[in-house]
Symmetry: C2
Subunit: 137 residues, 2 copies
DNA sequence: AGCCATAGTGAGAATGATTATCAAAGTCAT
DNA sequence: ATGACTTTGATAATCATTCTCACTATGGCT
């Protein structure tokens, strides 16, 4: 079920590499600017295209910031959830067996099929908590 | 912690009532059109303002559709999660003690503070499953 | 090498939700 | 009714994302 390696264009590979180096979620615009800062000038359209492709194969995870902007991150391919720092954006992949069970149980109780679920935890990481000042924004 | 009743404008009250009658999440645009269909012509700006106010007091829940559009729903004021039908949008409020515990445990293990979490379950409800054809869209 | 077919790129336009403006209309205690 | 203040809503402005389309790179094939 885990999408296997799919064909990826040259720019797609570079964009994936860029995400590999980050430990936090990044918006398409941040990726665009980040690559530009490295001298790699991709068009926004290319970035969005690559991101779509990467998310469709499951190589990249997406989630929505509260303002609706999409954030992307390169992750392990197996199912997992995230613990995200509201200060610096640092993201930790976590497992959630109890969440899986919970979703399954609830869904069954109500007769729902084709279940998916989302579960993320947000908070302030120890670094940001001690430094009164968050690293980002 | 649960935000108490806050002052609400006249239109805000009408918009809240409109949401009261729905059992599924609605976008701002849907609310706009729905009210208009009832002969209540509010400006979009007014709808968005009321929605902001309602969500800030916790009277209305927000979540993001996969395309990033915000969806609103009048809910019980105590903390809960949602089971949402991907077919008709029908939404059921559910509790998730195990999720709360999970979030708390994980956060503590990593030293995170000021924890929040989100957890929703999506699936096809029994009605939509039997009728091959979903009610909405 | 030269040539075609096809996929990939990117500047800029188009879309669409949300937010900001701001003048006009409503509210209310005096 | 008067003035101080709030609410409203038509419209313009933002901003992320998607679409267009001419142009370029690529890969086979001779």
């Amino acid at each position: 079920m885990a999408g296997g390696r799919k064909f990826m264009t040259k720019s797609g590979i570079e964009i994936a590499k860029f995400l590999d180096k980050r430990e936090s979620f990044a918006s398409a615009q941040e990726i665009f600017l980040g690559l530009r800062a490295e001298g790699r000038n991709f068009g926004l359209a290319t970035i969005y295209r690559a991101l779509q492709s990467l998310t469709s194969t499951g190589e990249v995870d997406v989630l929505r910031r509260s303002d609706g902007e999409a954030l992307y991150r390169k992750c392990g391919e197996d199912h997992h959830h995230h613990l995200i720092c509201k200060g610096c954006g640092k993201t930790i992949e976590i497992e959630g067996v109890s969440v899986e069970e919970w979703a399954h149980t609830i869904a069954e109780r109500h007769g729902f099929r084709e279940i998916q679920h989302s579960a993320e935890i947000f908070g302030i990481c120890p670094d940001c908590f001690t430094q009164a000042e968050p690293k980002r924004r």
